[in-house]
Point group: D2
Amino acid sequence: MIRLSLYIYRNPILHFVSSPISTSLSLLTLSLQFEVQMSFAKKEYEFLKEIGLGPHNLGCYASGVWRGNGPVITSINPSNNQAIAEVTEASTEDYEEGMKACFEAAKTWMQVSTSSNTIPAPKRGEIVRQIGDALRAKLQQLGRLVSLEMGKILAEGIGEVQEIIDMCDFAVGLSRQLNGSIIPSERPNHMMLEMWNPLGIVGVITAFNFPCAVLGWNACLALVCGDCVVWKGAPTTPLITIAMTKIVAGVLEKNNLPGAIFTSFCGGAEIGQAIAKDTRIPLVSFTGSSKVGLMVQKTVNERFGKCLLELSGNNAIIVMDDADIQLAARSVLFAAVGTAGQRCTTCRRLLLHESIYQRVLDQLLEVYKQVKIGDPLLSGTLLGPLHTRAARENFEKGIEIIKSQALAVSKNGGKILTGGSAIESEGNFVQPTIVEISPNADVVKEELFAPVLYVMKFQTLKEAIEINNSVPQGLSSSMFTHKPEVIFKWIG
Amino acid sequence: MIRLSLYIYRNPILHFVSSPISTSLSLLTLSLQFEVQMSFAKKEYEFLKEIGLGPHNLGCYASGVWRGNGPVITSINPSNNQAIAEVTEASTEDYEEGMKACFEAAKTWMQVSTSSNTIPAPKRGEIVRQIGDALRAKLQQLGRLVSLEMGKILAEGIGEVQEIIDMCDFAVGLSRQLNGSIIPSERPNHMMLEMWNPLGIVGVITAFNFPCAVLGWNACLALVCGDCVVWKGAPTTPLITIAMTKIVAGVLEKNNLPGAIFTSFCGGAEIGQAIAKDTRIPLVSFTGSSKVGLMVQKTVNERFGKCLLELSGNNAIIVMDDADIQLAARSVLFAAVGTAGQRCTTCRRLLLHESIYQRVLDQLLEVYKQVKIGDPLLSGTLLGPLHTRAARENFEKGIEIIKSQALAVSKNGGKILTGGSAIESEGNFVQPTIVEISPNADVVKEELFAPVLYVMKFQTLKEAIEINNSVPQGLSSSMFTHKPEVIFKWIG
Amino acid sequence: MIRLSLYIYRNPILHFVSSPISTSLSLLTLSLQFEVQMSFAKKEYEFLKEIGLGPHNLGCYASGVWRGNGPVITSINPSNNQAIAEVTEASTEDYEEGMKACFEAAKTWMQVSTSSNTIPAPKRGEIVRQIGDALRAKLQQLGRLVSLEMGKILAEGIGEVQEIIDMCDFAVGLSRQLNGSIIPSERPNHMMLEMWNPLGIVGVITAFNFPCAVLGWNACLALVCGDCVVWKGAPTTPLITIAMTKIVAGVLEKNNLPGAIFTSFCGGAEIGQAIAKDTRIPLVSFTGSSKVGLMVQKTVNERFGKCLLELSGNNAIIVMDDADIQLAARSVLFAAVGTAGQRCTTCRRLLLHESIYQRVLDQLLEVYKQVKIGDPLLSGTLLGPLHTRAARENFEKGIEIIKSQALAVSKNGGKILTGGSAIESEGNFVQPTIVEISPNADVVKEELFAPVLYVMKFQTLKEAIEINNSVPQGLSSSMFTHKPEVIFKWIG
Amino acid sequence: MIRLSLYIYRNPILHFVSSPISTSLSLLTLSLQFEVQMSFAKKEYEFLKEIGLGPHNLGCYASGVWRGNGPVITSINPSNNQAIAEVTEASTEDYEEGMKACFEAAKTWMQVSTSSNTIPAPKRGEIVRQIGDALRAKLQQLGRLVSLEMGKILAEGIGEVQEIIDMCDFAVGLSRQLNGSIIPSERPNHMMLEMWNPLGIVGVITAFNFPCAVLGWNACLALVCGDCVVWKGAPTTPLITIAMTKIVAGVLEKNNLPGAIFTSFCGGAEIGQAIAKDTRIPLVSFTGSSKVGLMVQKTVNERFGKCLLELSGNNAIIVMDDADIQLAARSVLFAAVGTAGQRCTTCRRLLLHESIYQRVLDQLLEVYKQVKIGDPLLSGTLLGPLHTRAARENFEKGIEIIKSQALAVSKNGGKILTGGSAIESEGNFVQPTIVEISPNADVVKEELFAPVLYVMKFQTLKEAIEINNSVPQGLSSSMFTHKPEVIFKWIG
């Protein structure tokens, strides 16, 4: 059985940075080194100091100490492709040092140490509560950093940090509910006891598009459960990884706890693989592409570890003939264009009932025209840049493929209705795009991680559900209707 | 917080038989003694033997033995007011003997006895499973008896017994889920254990209109929890009480368990009061009128016992302007006329949106005309008799009051649209009745336990909810609509 | 079934202040009026200003406004019977004004208002989180006030406030877990929905001995559930009631919510009765004596309301022959002498296995000698004063009765082993007392709300359990043993 | 977090039969064909007819029809290596036919079919209840067959079938508890719904040692959840697979349901691989060796399916110095010798505190001497044969390795204390064996699937836990002690 929700908020896709790219980033670093200091000196970057960041940062929090002996990389602002600051990533030795300390710290945190200095679940909850409070105190700055480094608009940046704060509150409550069971046996005078025991260490590998929320979902629960956390953030959002880690580290230190309880590495595929292989990490939570996810899972399973995977999506919105069309149009805009189409839950396919097809489309084209594109930190901006120059190029390649396929299926009326181009600028901006296309076109089955929406027509609910289920990636879907019988049919 | 369901199936009203009535019943007994044997000899009563009943029955299962030293009463067929069979009720001494044994049996059943002969929860579940199977084997006969003695139609009689069977299945599953908790404390090296312990004995006082289902709800759960059950059925349905008890007793005996685990008394107010006062019974479940329920609660609370009360209802159905009118009309018929209006969940008030008022009413008058009234055991019958001659008289008094109030509020258009009379016959039959009346009429606030439906008009949902909540008895309500926003507003 | 815990922390006894006492308090007020200003000026009372208290205080927070038109009473320091400050209690009119506003506020807080300005459960959780933070900021001052006005030692005063803070954290987590259910029906194409709906208003009547923790247990849960709270604190701890209310009111005001969501009255029996009778309050939580509790329950039930009662206790500690005697002796001291014996969970009866009887007793007499009695605010004090002069007199009367019964049962060896006298001083101090007595002595069945411990001997576990269960008030019991089979027998 | 139980009953190891062995079985078939009919004619095999078995059986229940077009194999009695009966296994075509029908049947069973003929969860529960009853009616015969074909003693054979019956009862209760959730959102006027949806089809691959109980654990839950079941039993226990399937099929047919809801294949690795690869089967439950389990998991994951694995174990019993030695010795005997050491939960390592080392060992050697070895169907037998001749050879090889390693670690005192030989007979009998050995010996880290117990000594609890955790397979462990502090330390 699977639990099917009307509203699932899940998550994103990681284009796992393979070594060639991180090499090119290293090269980039050299040429941009001067620039780094320049940018950082800018007035609008001053807030970074308030969350512990400088022009040069150590990218590894291991054994409660900041260090970094790996490659030096540069964090890039996707709005202008200029450097923000430099980060020294973790080397293999940093990783090993960090994991040794983390493994030791787990004995304290799991409460298996024989000393009286153990930490019961409600006390762990208190630490997570303090983390939530520390995040609250820096909500604006952290949200601003997410927006600056990842490229999503400020409201979304702040929203992402708020999500971790909410997770902290939730986890604090859970910390007093981790009850075991006493089970009456069918044998007289016999009793069975069951208790929850921590796994020890949870590895968390996150992606660029939700560079801190996904850490929050995993870490808040892991910490109250008595598990230490080893985090590898995305290689292109190292400043967020460092800033978040400083918040957590500050709380651990204030409470005289080993910093190694929360161990954090900036790094690329090498560190990711080290985590996947490490027998000290019984559970690895991975967020990213299906391809890399499968590889991680295979590696982890081979050593009898477990995986939580959050992979690709190719999500549809179905609009029935009785829907509130204005509400639907507004929602589709947010779902297809938000985060510049770089959410795993981005709406990629819009299924419209034939009787309202043209009306919804007209409204949508109207609202797409009004989308303000630009610096995500500016108030009023609705669409920021794609995260990297490579993503922008990928968008352009995708549009070429769409055009070629649209021709091939021309009897199905495939064509670009709005958008379809990258925008000339220093940043990675592209136009929000709507494509009219047949559900059978090959390109529709793939995931173009950009604000491109495929629109298609259907006649019956049955047909709509079949189209919805005709792609391999299914993650979330939505439907607009007023009919309870359709709603309940929809959710099962 | 209260838990509010879209579909609650709750229960009924007991006109707790006060002593004058039971005296008159005793007198009746004498004059009908010959008749008793006659009736029982009839061919259509032969099935009673298959469930252990004869022309004269002992009404008390105490300490695993059938006995009876109280008044001899006669069970009456409400279709013709002829006697079915005689029952000797429990005397005060019978009660005391039975309770002594039950209190002893509780030590075994609760698994507190120090002997190795204790009974863990899953084993108690096995007993309840066998009870379910024993009921299944006699489903037709028991359902027939419910129909014969209570007066509800056969499908409802069988349905009532099926409900207990379903409860048995459910309780068997529960018997393996009665887990305690191990709770991590905030103190290091400290653990809290919590376990469910049986109360000991649960008293169950049930009413005539669901003469066995209500026992099932209470007893199935009580038994798997490790509680003994003391049951007093309604004084006018003693044969059902005896037949049900024989089923349970048979299973206990087959398993070499003390029969006193399930102790059962036919009797009236005296036995009811003895249960309410008895400090050996920490929990009393009472089903019946609000008036008697409050008295029982007061008596039980004074000795620091607890009560489960299932009392009156004055239920409304709201039909919105977008409703499926045919479905609504059919449902109202079943809700208002089923069990001859003698359910606690009987629909007594029908609130119609003004725009569909006349259409619903017309349909309803049409279906009311087709209601087949008669012997509840005959196939095709939809409306059987009221349970007693007194109930029929009560119906006639109620109609008089309605008429007088309808006049008084005549500007609100109060009038009898169909029905309104008792039917001349040997039995307690009355016409299904629809009254058009203002929601403010006094009589609408009271509960006439008969198939009388008050119809009223509203303009807005807000107004409908206000009318719905304007009576003191609220138990269940329903609404017919297609709009999800109205549904969710409705359930909170 | 009842859930039986190894560690239950429940609560206290209220000597519901009847009118004669509150009259005498009023008289006292007059003569002490000058003193009031004097005391308040003292340096050690300065912290009261930090939590919003002055020499004269309004005792009623109604409709978001501080008011008070009832009698003026004086809060007394039980260590010296000098006045701390004055409070004007609520009049009947204050009550009615407050309840009207509370009833209106409930519509907003329950989220039934049709306006868009409704408050979902997680948002209510956020308010409770802020209350927790506001309490954290004043933990020391509030704890100090509890100690000053109630008389318990400072560590206990602070602990009591901490308990509310913990409840807030727990309730925040719950605010995201108040899920309803979707239940598959056995009918095809049929679905049942169940949702939790707030009751509206919860009345909370608390006692002097836990003047704020009990409010916390009730209010934190009620608030996240969507219920408004009406609080009547104990008449002899009005300053705590006011200070706590100011904390909550501050949070509501900061969030632009109606203050009437939390309505609070200083007052006596008259306000208590008004709450019990008020049909706007579907649930009343009462803490106090069994006698008054039963009266409250009866009043509430008569109007079909529900009650949560926390009443008397007469708790035992059983020490088995294999127990850790030092641990047992220390625990008994804390359980019998803590809060000066004025907890509902105070240990009143100590059951010692005959083989270790004398050893435990010797250790206990030794530690009793070292108990430091005095000002509860001073570091090192273990035993503060009884709460009122009347309680001290009650202690003396109780000792007289014990002595007389000890004589009567002299063959059982009844005698005062240590303590037994009030201490000559301005305050309400008494000696911690140990009495050797038969379990059958009448006085043992009663609850003397003071640090008096009855010691008795047993031979077998069975005998110990019988003695444990031989009093009518059972609330909590403890056992000291190392044997798992005894532990599991003990908890069921 | 993992849930750690004091009593886990998990399961077994499958030596996944590779093709060479099944070839040799086919050869065996030819030479034994006459024998087959002979054996089956024996009086003691008559009971097989009562559960639908004959001398030649079709091994595939597909689309509600019995068929079989694969190799013909012979079921062998491990007590004498004579044939019991023949079975025709499933061919690849049989598999594909069966899966097509199963996939269609899933639409009905999952209740997604648009027809009104859908089956809600409680109705599915009713089917499972009937399966439980049908098993109850054939408990003796099925248990006897398990004993005959697998080789475990009769009490264990019957116990295994009883376990499925208990699972049925449990699952019936669950069928009314598969509730979804209605979750209040933090957005005003917003609600989230979550519902459980069936996966569709659950594949179940089971092993020889629990040839039917493991099916029961998986199938009972899958069926009430709305999932169809595809079962491949062990190739050496085909008669049990067929007999169990006939029970289930009979219930489906009686209820006019598609037989394809429960699809069953006798077969070897080819069918196992087909299941692992089949995208129509989203969840595969596999029981067997770690090696094969990892391969199955890899195959299933590659197609984004999920796995439940029940693999190897290398379980320890720790006996502390305060243990009840008689109880411990009896328990170790049952744990090490029961099912001839072929349970995944078989105790393979006995850790004795040095202070009671010799006493436990002496008792154990005494009880080992009294173990009655022989025909598992005979009353009094405690140890039946190993399941196959190959297993017996494997035992002999293992003993050789032990002897060689015992020499190598001779300073640690390794030696065979009792047993160590196969028994000359027609069957696969071996002696129950105790080996004194160092915890560091290599052979201790491996799993010899036979009644061989390694005994070792420890000084402290810490040391015992380290030894316990020093093997890679950990599944279940036990400890004998009276000290609650040790118990709670032990379970976390």
